[in-house]
Symmetry: C2
């Protein structure tokens, strides 16, 4: 009864269904190219709260509650909330979950958290441990800047390879039944560290992990890029995307005509001055819950590989001279194609 | 094929086996009352590394590698490493996992992480997603002090309710087969926050979560305290333990004659001057991997409920006036009793 496929992939026999999603974004994201796909756009990034951290937590709370409402369920129906975020000690998730009456599993995978929480939730449903589980994550530009870089008040200049942390939260509700997009395979990644130390160039640091996980997913499943309508990495940005695409080509996988990076898509990089693009847990969360999910529901995308990518350094580890370890997890999501293929 | 029992508990039909464990502790823990149960005792808490954070990461690496070796396996045999720690962005786990060739799932549950990682690993094995999975966690007194409280160099006085973060790491290797202690049920907890704000009294903040999870475990399984030889909470310390015991009595569950708290046991509180006792992810990890596992292997304990407990605040959330949310997850571990009961 092993569900293992190849070295690192598992097949979800029961195809857990993503029966509802919600994306909540900040004002900047709400003016970007994907604005029409988001459910809730905040008017300002404090959203009436006393701090950016509390605003982030409140965004996640909204994303979760709205998702439960969309599915006509109550908190009591949901067996697990599987969530994480970028704030130290998962503040955003913990304080959101405090006000929600659902057993809580906290995760940290930096910006890989959306596909990590979706992977764990999918396994929990497929394993028979839950009827309903919610996967959620969030990030907030202003909270991330002061935690990971410098407070905004300092007005630091951004380097050309810098990315802009997405202010946003996404939640996906998984269930055993329903005519909705479903997860079919999960490939949990290994940590890859090629010695990059520039914390203003996370895309390059995470690219090797994305390449490793995507390559492994193809090898394990016997699939090729042809199988998918869309392959979406999390937040490699313009530069990291380019590296990933080129490295995968060297391994014999040309994904160029169906490859997007959520961070590369969410902002108008020129007009919105986001340099290499968006980043943060919230990035692949809101693009996944918004653009990808809605296009799948409309039949415009049938087979998607979502590969959220995380840079696992901490400000302390960087100060202590460590390089930036990266990780990526891949989840195959399908809807409306040939289910028996 | 639902494995759900009651509201919050799942039954692990296949009884995942804990085939090996390793506990690594610092010198102070190595002089405490449980010293004979630990596998590796460090001579100094830097262990030859340049920083406390790197020493913590190295402890976890040792715990994991030693555990794999004990089971006569290789890294390549292990399907998942499920780990977390107290450091911001899970530095200890991430940098340990960077040097280990195993797909990595990062968790954050503050000091509840040992039973959280054991729960997830058990579900992953029971769900057929893995042949082998490792659950691990760590904490380090000196790293935790400067991250959560004040650097040791400041020589701050400790309050009577303060606890001493355990320097230690524990790893458990789970497998489908083998004549070893096995997990039978998992009860994932909800976040409970009764408004406590004193970060020098985490035991009181976490006690309501421990009470809620233990009570729910009994209600879901129909068990009573009589069922277990030992109920062990994670790191409530002397005061939190007292509160938990008394509150459970009010709910009709008298656990007093079989109840220990790992934090209450690991130090000689008088002689070692640890006030209310030990704390930290590493606390229930090393007591679980050391004292509890070894006593189960020797047949001295047959049925144990391990309930690691976490205080989910961050220094930032405390500065922003938030109270301390608590969480607790319970895992039932058995060996040598009547397996069909």
């Amino acid at each position: 009864m092993s569900k293992r496929v190849g070295k690192q992939t598992v097949k979800l026999e029961s195809k857990p269904k993503i029966i509802a999603t919600t994306s909540v974004v900040g004002p900047k994201e709400g003016k970007g190219p994907l604005k029409d796909y988001f459910d809730i756009i905040l008017q300002d990034d404090l959203d009436g709260k006393e701090s950016f951290e509390k605003a982030e937590s409140s965004m996640m709370y909204k994303a979760i509650e709205e998702t439960i409402k969309k599915a006509n369920l109550n908190e009591q129906d949901i067996n697990y909330l599987v969530a994480g975020d970028l704030l130290n000690q998962l503040s955003a998730s913990n304080f959101a979950a405090r006000d929600i009456d659902i057993p809580f599993i906290g995760l940290y995978g930096a910006c890989s958290t959306m596909s990590e929480s979706l992977s764990i939730s999918s396994m929990i449903i497929d394993g028979g441990f839950a009827d309903y589980a919610i996967a959620a994550t969030s990030s907030h530009f202003s909270a991330a800047e002061r935690q990971f870089r410098v407070p905004l008040e300092m007005g630091s200049q951004r380097t050309p390879t810098a990315q802009w942390t997405v202010t946003g939260s996404g939640a996906m509700l998984l269930a055993k039944e329903g005519n909705y997009p479903y997860t079919t395979h999960v490939t949990i990644g290994k940590i890859k560290d090629y010695g990059k130390t520039d914390t203003n160039d996370m895309g390059s640091a995470m690219a090797p992990a994305a390449v490793d996980t995507i390559k492994q997913h193809f090898q394990d499943t016997g699939r090729t890029p042809k199988y998918y309508d869309l392959i979406a990495t999390g937040d490699l940005g313009q530069l990291g995307k380019k590296i990933t695409q080129e490295l995968l080509k060297e391994y014999g996988y040309d994904i160029s005509n169906k490859y997007i990076d959520c961070g590369d898509e969410i902002f108008d990089k020129e007009k919105q001055k986001t340099n290499c693009g968006g980043s943060g847990c919230g990035c692949s969360a809101v693009v996944g819950c918004g653009y990808i999910y809605k296009n799948m529901m409309q039949g415009k995308l049938k087979r998607v590989l979502l590969v959220s990518t995380g840079a696992l350094m901490s400000p302390t580890s960087s100060l202590q001279g460590e390089s930036i370890p990266g990780i990526a997890h891949a989840v195959s999501i399908e809807f409306g194609g040939n289910q028996n293929e």
